[in-house]
Structures are given as structure tokens and as C-alpha cells.
């Protein structure tokens, strides 16, 4: 198992890093050995994770630059637009290819290579299995300028559908010779070593082409014919510490499961944040308080699971007071741009004991956007949501303790 100091002395090389095997740690440690390293990854969540690890290890920020491949490409392509010809604004669809191609072209220019060489003494690329062929070309070019270590796991590819179909043997290892595999499942050490052990074993099996054995005594297998069998979500977790993930392959079913779970599980938002965008559009099109209320109510029904009180049960007086307060605020949606009222409504609603928020990030972002508009920092809800999204993508999100989501969103999203 390779040590940080060994890896630092290698030129270009590839390290195979199964999930939870201390990859982030070793990346941070290798980066800290030089004067200034560049760490590239795919997602903002990844950037965030690496930054917090660097912070925890006490590595000064100035020594390591961390960015997404997309972010780095944007930076360089826009710094040298004559050669890179980057798409204007945020790239959409095929424009991403244009961006990576452009950044790659910029590296043909001697002066740009000189800038890269002066900026980093080491480049580390995380989650290499998620690289598309254009990103791979870019990495290859970078590796010609600065020694580059890549980390990845052929078993963890989540972007095959988006063109990440590099073959490790045919495409990657000729340029980045195999330098070893991380062998210790650090993530579960001390917390749940059995799970770590099981994951490591299972990975090996899958590598060999064998199926997962559900009869393994370490697995609790519970068959259910109903996708909305909530028992599957809650049975056996009572009194247990740690984090829980429920996985379903379909995004919309995940949202519905979260709703059905009445706040017991949170859904995760995509970075694209289409639901937030939809709210913003509806809000901006509304011309009066009624239209605005409609926008809020629609968002509310997608974010909250509302429990109807059982017959004969008294309404909680606090809830009644809250509902009254909300009704009082409502007319203010007609005042000015109405955003101040919206922000207040959004701040109050989660306090209702029977309204269970299951898309917390979505609702909070909407509240933040409304605050932006009411404070005059954004002229429209659309602009405000863009600002909020940018801030979130820079700071990252905290994963809820209990999550129901798709593999893609759980692993991090673009």
C-alpha cells in the first residue's frame, strides 16, 4: 500500500482507491509535501470534502489549490479566451466539451504552460473514473507539464452514461502507470469495521464478476413488493448511531419516499436545482400577492409532508397561532416585491409540528433567495437563486443524517 512520501516521489502515476479507503487523506498528505499542489475533482462536494480534510490536517490553504476540473477549465479558458474560445456564461450541454477542448488548446501555448509550471509542483486528480475522454486529454496534457497523480476506482464510475468510459488498461495506465491500490477501509475503522470489511470484500467479488451474495449473514435482506413500504426505511434503525442512506434508482421516487417518510429522511437536491428554478420563474412571473402565494404553496407541497390531525385530536395551540400568523403575513405578499413576506413565511413554516420538511435544502435555498430579493441584493428571484446556488456550490452541503436518494446524488453531483 503506497505511502504519501512514496507517491510524492513518483512522476505520473495512478492509484486505485476503493471507496472509504483513505483516498482523501492520502491526496491531502501528498499535496502537502510540495510547495503548491493542485487538486482536481469532479464535484463541488468533492472540492468541499478535500478542503475540509486539508483544514483538519492543518495544511495552509495557500499550499494547495482545490477545484473541479470544470472550474479549473473555466478559469484557464476564460483567462486565455483567444485560443480557448470558451462558451459565454455557464456552459450548457455540448458546451462543456467546448470548454474542455479549449482549456486543452490553451495548454499548447508556451506561456500558458509556463504559468501552469510556475503555479503547481504537483497535480492530483481525484475520482479519475468519472473523467470523460476530453477531461482525460486535458489531464494528459497537464501531466506533461507537472507530475500528476490520479486517484480513482474503476468500480465507482457513476458517469458512464455521460461518456466517462475510459478503459484503465488501454487509456489510463499507459500515461499514468499503476502505482498501487489503497487497501485499508479507513472510513469504517472504529465505527463499523464490519461494514468496511464487507464493502472491500464485495468490491473484490464484483471485480471478479461475481454477484453480491444477499444471503450473507452480515446483510439484512428484507423483501418488499411495495416501493412505498416505509417499514423498510425505519425498521431496525431505532437507537442506532451514525448515518443512514436509503437508495433508490429513480430521483422522483426518492422524493416521494422522502415525503412519505414525513421528514424522517431528507431528500438531496441536485446542483442544477431545477425545482428551485421553477419556483423562481413562477414567482418572477407573478404580478400580485395571489400569484406569489401560488408559487410558495406549490413549492411547499413539494417540500413538506402534511399530516392531517387524527379525528378528535385537538389542534396544537402553537400550530394554531402559527397558522394565524401566516394568514396575517399573506396580504404583505402584495406589498412591494413581496419578498420580505415570502422570507418570513418560509422561515415560519418549518416550525409547524404537523408540517414535516423533507427537502430541507430546497426550502432553505428558497428562503435565502427571498431574503436576497427583499434586501435588494438581487433584482429578481431568478437572479437571487443563481447567487444562492453559487454560494452553495462553493461552500458545499452537509449530508443529512438520514437520506433517501439516488446513487448519483449520494456520491456527489455536478
Amino acid at each position: 500500500m503506497p505511502e504519501a512520501s512514496d507517491l510524492f516521489n513518483l512522476g505520473n502515476a495512478a492509484v486505485v482507491a476503493p471507496a472509504g479507503h483513505g483516498k482523501t487523506e492520502i491526496i491531502a498528505k501528498v499535496a502537502a509535501l510540495g510547495q503548491r499542489a493542485l487538486i482536481l475533482t469532479h464535484t463541488h462536494a468533492g472540492v468541499h470534502a478535500i478542503r475540509s480534510r486539508l483544514k483538519r490536517l492543518g495544511i495552509p490553504r495557500s499550499r494547495v489549490a482545490v477545484d473541479t476540473i470544470a472550474g479549473w477549465s473555466m478559469r484557464y479558458a476564460h483567462a486565455f479566451p483567444g485560443i480557448a474560445k470558451p462558451p459565454t456564461g455557464m456552459p450548457q450541454g455540448a458546451e462543456w466539451d467546448q470548454l474542455y477542448r479549449g482549456a486543452r488548446l490553451a495548454l499548447n501555448v508556451a506561456a500558458v504552460r509556463a504559468v501552469v509550471a510556475a503555479s503547481y509542483d504537483r497535480i492530483l486528480i481525484d475520482e479519475y473514473q468519472d473523467c470523460g475522454s476530453l477531461q482525460h486529454e486535458l489531464a494528459t496534457e497537464l501531466a506533461r507539464i507537472v507530475p500528476t497523480l490520479i486517484f480513482g476506482d474503476p468500480m465507482q464510475g457513476i458517469f458512464e452514461f455521460a461518456g466517462a468510459t475510459l478503459s484503465w488498461d488501454a487509456d489510463i495506465h499507459p500515461l499514468f502507470p499503476f502505482a498501487g491500490t489503497l487497501e485499508k477501509p479507513h472510513r469504517w475503522a472504529g465505527k463499523n469495521p464490519e461494514l468496511g470489511q464487507w464493502i472491500a470484500e464485495t468490491r473484490e467479488k464484483l471485480l471478479r464478476g461475481e454477484p453480491i451474495d444477499l444471503a450473507d449473514p452480515r446483510i439484512t435482506f428484507r423483501q418488499s413488493d411495495d416501493a412505498f413500504d416505509l417499514g423498510a426505511l425505519f425498521e431496525g434503525i431505532e437507537g442506532k448511531e451514525g448515518s443512514f442512506a436509503a437508495i433508490h434508482c429513480h430521483k422522483t421516487i426518492c422524493y416521494r419516499l422522502a415525503k412519505a417518510a414525513g421528514g424522517g429522511y431528507q431528500a438531496i437536491e441536485e446542483v442544477a436545482a431545477s425545482r428551485l428554478q421553477q419556483f423562481a420563474n413562477l414567482w418572477d412571473r407573478a404580478t400580485d400577492g395571489t400569484g406569489r402565494l401560488t408559487a410558495i404553496k406549490s413549492l411547499l407541497s413539494d417540500s413538506f409532508s402534511i399530516k392531517i390531525p387524527a379525528d378528535g385530536v385537538d389542534v396544537d395551540p402553537a400550530d394554531a397561532a402559527l397558522e394565524a400568523e401566516l394568514r396575517e403575513i399573506e396580504p404583505a405578499l402584495n406589498l412591494g416585491n413581496g419578498a420580505a413576506a415570502a422570507a418570513r413565511i418560509m422561515a415560519l413554516t418549518p416550525k409547524h409540528s404537523r408540517w414535516k420538511l423533507f427537502r430541507r435544502d430546497l426550502w432553505r435555498d428558497a428562503e435565502r433567495a427571498a431574503t436576497e430579493v427583499s434586501a435588494g441584493r438581487a433584482e429578481s428571484m431568478d437572479k437571487a437563486t443563481t447567487n444562492v446556488r453559487q454560494r452553495v456550490s462553493l461552500s458545499g452541503r452537509k449530508l443529512p443524517k438520514r437520506t433517501v436518494s439516488t446513487p448519483l446524488l449520494l456520491k456527489g453531483n455536478r
Binding site: 478559469r75 486565455f80 479566451p81 485560443i83 501555448v109 508556451a110 506561456a111 504559468v115 510556475a118 503555479s119
Partner: protein
């Protein structure tokens, strides 16, 4: 770092300048008030980390209605400058042909352009020029310190003490130890400070001594840290370099300057841009040569080792200095008036300038240069110029910034052309020993270089003798005998004029015609022919000795070709 280009607008005495130094070592010369020092000032203002308090006189003609703008483009960038967390994404391209483009292409060298703007508010703004970004990146003094600019100003003793931010403190690394010791030292009284026992300070002093010696500073004892209490009380600034117990601040100007330069330069590892105004200040000729040779050798060593070379930009008024820098490094600053447009010229034909630097280096500090062809002529003109001031309100030509230069014979036309290219007003004074080639004639005419020569294709000897009265011919002969010996002169004439006996030759010239078949004019021609062929007067000192006679000859024969040629030269030199 190396300055690739500097553009100056409306700064001090310069309305406009656009200069590409084109090398790691440039020695700026030129006539007084041509703006040499202002060029260095401009480079310093743009790239130094110092804050400048600008005032009205910093604007041309104190006119603050228009901003002053200085744009400095710097290449050979250090790693720190090129880093993308600093200024790397703002790099521009310097083409192999020496042109700037905003976005680098192909193999362009990465360069950065700093623009300093000062308007009537007197608030300086430093920013990077990069057309690719919407908002210019402003530069703090922390950014500018990365450009590694060092200016040698003689009177600055700051660098000879361990003050905050001083170069010595950087050489030392850490002065904390020193300040603790200082506090104790203050109590224990001055003489007990024992600063020389602080290893870090002693080492820095030792290093400073080595560097200073390298550039030619005289070291009396050895450099060591010593306590010097100033007005500011006790601080690390109170520790100053001492040489054998004497503060280095009190050393001779030259030594102080060399030590300062050596220390400053050493603190910048990635190629400093060193500005030196009047390198010769306080230095004897051999130390000027020594210092320049050392600066050149430093650069050569860096080239060999593949290290950043840095750049030396200096001004001088010393012919010794330019003799050592050599013609390739010379840059001539010329200012046109009244527009105050400044241009800097580099020699395109260093060989012609090399000859000039050997024979008349001082001429390069003039505004107008009369290139003469031979030793007789230069001696003659140097002598005769003493007679001119009386006719020009007492002003000698030197006051007008005019010089007479030795053109080393046939090299004169090439030299005049080279000087003309360097922006000097140039003319040639020559005789017709050999005639100019058609190419030379065309080139001189194209360059507008006047050629003063004697009417009728005469050589100098012919021009002199043919215009001289009998008495003056006699004086010339006596002078020649005095210089060359009686026998030599008389024998030369005897062979040329066989019908004259030696006795007659030795008698007075006015009687020669009684014994010769030749007339007075023919006799004069014969003497001139012998004088030229036997090189009686081909010597600068002899030419100068002749000049009082020549002056009288020309005065007595104002229509002669001698008088006419001299008059033309006089008119041009005094114009």
C-alpha cells in the same frame, strides 16, 4: 526579471517615450537633459514597491490636466509572478520579434504589463494591463515587490542597517533574536551589546562583505554588526554594518554605493532589475571598470547556469564606464524639442561605434558630433576652436554640447552614419587624401550628413600651404623642423626640389623662388606634397601645434579653400 518595454506619457520632462531595452544590460547615455534619469525614474515608479507621493512637478510642465501614464512590460518572470494565484492568468505574450500581444500565442514569452496612472488627484494607481479581463487587476505594493526592482541611490544608508524590511534583515532571516538581545543590551549599555556574537547577524555581515568586495567596495577591516543609536531609539534599525568598528554609513561614497548595490542585489534570487543612476558616482576609473565587469560577469554566470539573469539599466557620463560596457550595451537617449518626445537608440553597427569608443568615447556624450578624418585635422580643429568663442559671445563649442571626434581615417563615414543612426546630429570634416566612394556619398547624403572638405579636392597640407603667405610658410617649415628635426625636413625638401641647395633650403622660404625654376605657388604645392607624403603633420599634438598658424593663414586669406572649409565647420559647430 527583465524590462521588455516601457512607455512613458507626460511624466516629468518627458512627453512621450516608447522604449524596448532589448537586452539584459543597457547603459543609457546621451546629452544632458535628454531624459536618461527620468527613464530610470519611470521604471522605478512603475515597478518599485515603494509608495510615491506625486506632486505637480512630476507632470510635464506641471500640467495636471492630463494624467501621467507609465506602462512597463516585464519578462523573464519569476515563478511567483507567473503563479496563477498571483498574476499568472494576466500574462501577455512577447513575440520572438520583440512585439507585444495581449494574449500569448505559440512560443511567446509570458510577460506582464504594469500601468501606473496619476491624475490631478495625485493618487497613484498601479494596475495590470490585460485586455482579456473586464476589470483591471490593481497591484498592491506586495504585488509590486515581486518585480524585484532595485534602485541604487547613493545617499541611502537604510540598506546598511538591520531595520525593518531592510535587505540585511532579509539576508539574516530572523531578527527576533536580535531584538531580544537588543533590549538586554540597552540595559547593559552600548559597549556590552556583543552583537558580533549573534551568529545570524555575523553571518549576514560576512555575506555582505563578500558581496560588497565582489563589486569593488574597499573593506578596511571586516564587516560586523554594530550598534548605532539613532533618533528613533533602540530597534533593529540601530544595528548597522560596521567596517572595522566604523559605521559603513561613513565610508566613502563609492564604497557605500557598491556595498549597498551588492547587498540589495543579493536579496533578489530570481533576477533583479537593477537601476543605477550615474554608476561612476564616487568611484575611481578602475573601480568603475571593476564594478561594471562584475555586473557583466554575474549575468554571464547566470546565463551559463541557466538561472534568471535579471537586468541592469544604468546611466553614465563616464567614458570609462562606456568603454567597459561596450557598444552592444549602449543605448543613446535623445530628446526632440519642444515636443519633448524621447527616443532611445541602440547601435545597429556596433563595429563603427567600437572604433569611436576607442578613439573618442567622450564624443558620445555630446549632442552634435563633428567627425574628422585624421589626426592633423582633429588637432587643427581642437586648436582652432579656441579662437572661435570670441566671435560667438564667448561661448566655447563644449557649452553647446558639441564634440569633435576622431574618425580614425577611412572609418569616418561609417562612424558618422552610425552616430547619425543613434540620433546624433553629425557632420564630417575631411580632406581629399582619398575620395569618398559613391556608396558612401549616397549614404551620407541620404542621412543628411554634411561633409566639409576643401574646395578643389585639396588635402589639408595643400590647403594650408597654398593659402599661406611667405612668412607663414616659413613658420610652418620652422615648426616642422622643430618637431621632426632639421635634417629630416631639409632632406625631404632637397630630394623634392633638386634645384635648391641645402643652404638655400635652410635660408628663408621667400628667397627660394630666386633659385628655383618654380613659382611661389608651385613651391608651396611641392612642400605640401612632401609634407603629406612624409607625414610631417600626421599627429594630433602636432596638428594642434599648427593651429595658431593655420588660424592666421585663414584670417589672412578669407577666400581660400582652407578658410572656407574652416568657416563652414565653425558655422555648423556653433549653430
Amino acid at each position: 526579471m527583465q524590462l521588455r518595454q516601457i512607455k512613458v506619457t507626460h511624466f516629468r520632462g518627458i512627453e512621450f517615450l516608447d522604449w524596448k531595452p532589448g537586452g539584459p544590460f543597457c547603459c543609457l547615455i546621451g546629452p544632458g537633459d535628454s531624459g536618461k534619469s527620468t527613464v530610470l525614474d519611470a521604471v522605478e515608479a512603475a515597478l518599485s514597491s515603494r509608495w510615491f507621493a506625486f506632486t505637480e512637478p512630476d507632470f510635464l510642465a506641471c500640467d495636471t490636466t492630463r494624467p501621467m501614464v507609465i506602462e512597463a512590460t516585464v519578462g523573464e518572470l519569476s515563478k511567483a509572478l507567473k503563479s496563477d494565484e498571483r498574476l499568472g492568468l494576466y500574462v501577455r505574450g512577447w513575440t520572438s520579434a520583440g512585439d507585444l500581444r495581449d494574449e500569448p500565442e505559440d512560443d511567446d514569452e509570458p510577460v506582464l504589463t504594469v500601468r501606473l496612472t496619476v491624475d490631478a488627484s495625485m493618487e497613484p494607481v498601479w494596475e495590470l494591463i490585460c485586455d482579456r479581463v473586464d476589470n483591471p487587476r490593481t497591484l498592491s505594493n506586495r504585488d509590486r515587490v515581486l518585480f524585484g526592482l532595485v534602485r541604487l541611490a547613493g545617499e541611502d544608508a537604510r540598506h546598511l542597517a538591520w531595520g525593518q524590511g531592510s535587505v540585511l534583515s532579509r539576508l539574516t532571516g530572523d531578527t527576533n533574536e536580535a531584538s531580544t538581545r537588543l533590549a538586554q543590551a540597552y540595559k547593559a549599555a552600548r559597549e556590552n551589546a556583543k552583537l558580533d556574537q549573534l551568529e545570524s547577524l555575523a553571518k549576514a555581515a560576512e555575506k555582505a562583505e563578500r558581496l560588497a568586495k565582489g563589486l569593488g567596495a574597499y573593506v578596511e577591516g571586516s564587516y560586523e554588526p554594530g550598534l548605532e543609536l539613532g533618533r528613533s531609539g533602540l530597534s533593529s534599525g540601530s544595528i548597522a554594518l560596521h567596517d572595522g568598528g566604523v559605521p559603513l554609513r561613513l565610508a566613502g561614497l563609492g564604497t557605500r554605493r557598491l556595498a549597498t548595490l551588492a547587498i540589495q542585489k543579493s536579496a533578489i534570487s530570481e533576477g533583479a532589475i537593477v537601476l543605477v543612476d550615474e554608476i561612476e558616482h564616487g568611484l575611481e576609473p578602475h573601480r568603475i571598470i571593476g564594478a561594471i565587469a562584475q555586473l557583466k560577469a554575474d549575468q554571464d554566470r547566470s546565463v551559463e547556469a541557466g538561472r534568471p539573469v535579471g537586468q541592469v539599466l544604468m546611466t553614465t557620463h563616464s567614458d570609462v564606464a562606456i568603454g567597459e560596457t561596450g557598444p552592444e550595451r549602449l543605448r543613446v537617449v535623445q530628446m526632440t524639442r519642444p515636443g519633448r518626445q524621447v527616443a532611445v537608440f541602440a547601435p545597429t553597427a556596433p563595429d563603427s561605434i567600437r572604433a569611436l569608443m576607442r578613439f573618442a568615447p567622450r564624443a558620445l556624450f555630446a549632442r552634435r558630433i563633428l567627425v574628422t578624418e585624421g589626426n592633423t585635422e582633429i588637432g587643427m580643429l581642437l586648436g582652432i576652436r579656441e579662437h572661435w568663442p570670441a566671435r560667438h559671445a564667448g561661448k566655447p563649442i563644449e557649452q553647446l554640447g558639441v564634440a569633435i571626434a576622431d574618425g580614425n581615417g577611412a572609418q569616418a563615414p561609417a562612424m558618422a552614419l552610425a552616430l547619425n543612426e543613434l540620433g546624433y546630429e553629425t557632420a564630417i570634416f575631411r580632406d581629399s587624401d582619398t575620395s569618398l566612394s559613391p556608396t558612401e556619398k549616397t549614404e551620407l547624403a541620404a542621412a543628411g550628413i554634411q561633409v566639409f572638405a576643401y574646395r578643389g579636392d585639396l588635402n589639408t597640407e595643400q590647403a594650408i600651404f597654398s593659402a599661406a603667405s611667405d612668412e607663414l610658410v616659413q613658420e610652418l617649415l620652422n615648426f616642422a623642423r622643430q618637431e621632426r628635426g632639421d635634417d629630416a625636413i631639409d632632406n625631404n625638401i632637397d630630394i623634392k626640389l633638386p634645384d635648391l641647395t641645402l643652404a638655400v633650403i635652410r635660408a628663408t622660404f621667400s628667397e627660394w623662388k630666386l633659385f628655383s625654376e618654380l613659382e611661389g605657388l608651385q613651391l608651396r604645392e611641392a612642400i605640401a606634397e612632401v609634407a603629406a607624403r612624409k607625414r610631417w603633420f600626421k599627429d594630433q599634438r602636432i596638428g594642434r601645434g599648427l593651429s595658431s598658424m593655420i588660424w592666421r593663414i585663414a584670417q589672412a586669406a578669407p577666400e581660400s579653400s582652407l578658410a572656407t572649409a574652416l568657416h563652414q565647420a565653425e558655422a555648423w559647430l556653433h549653430a
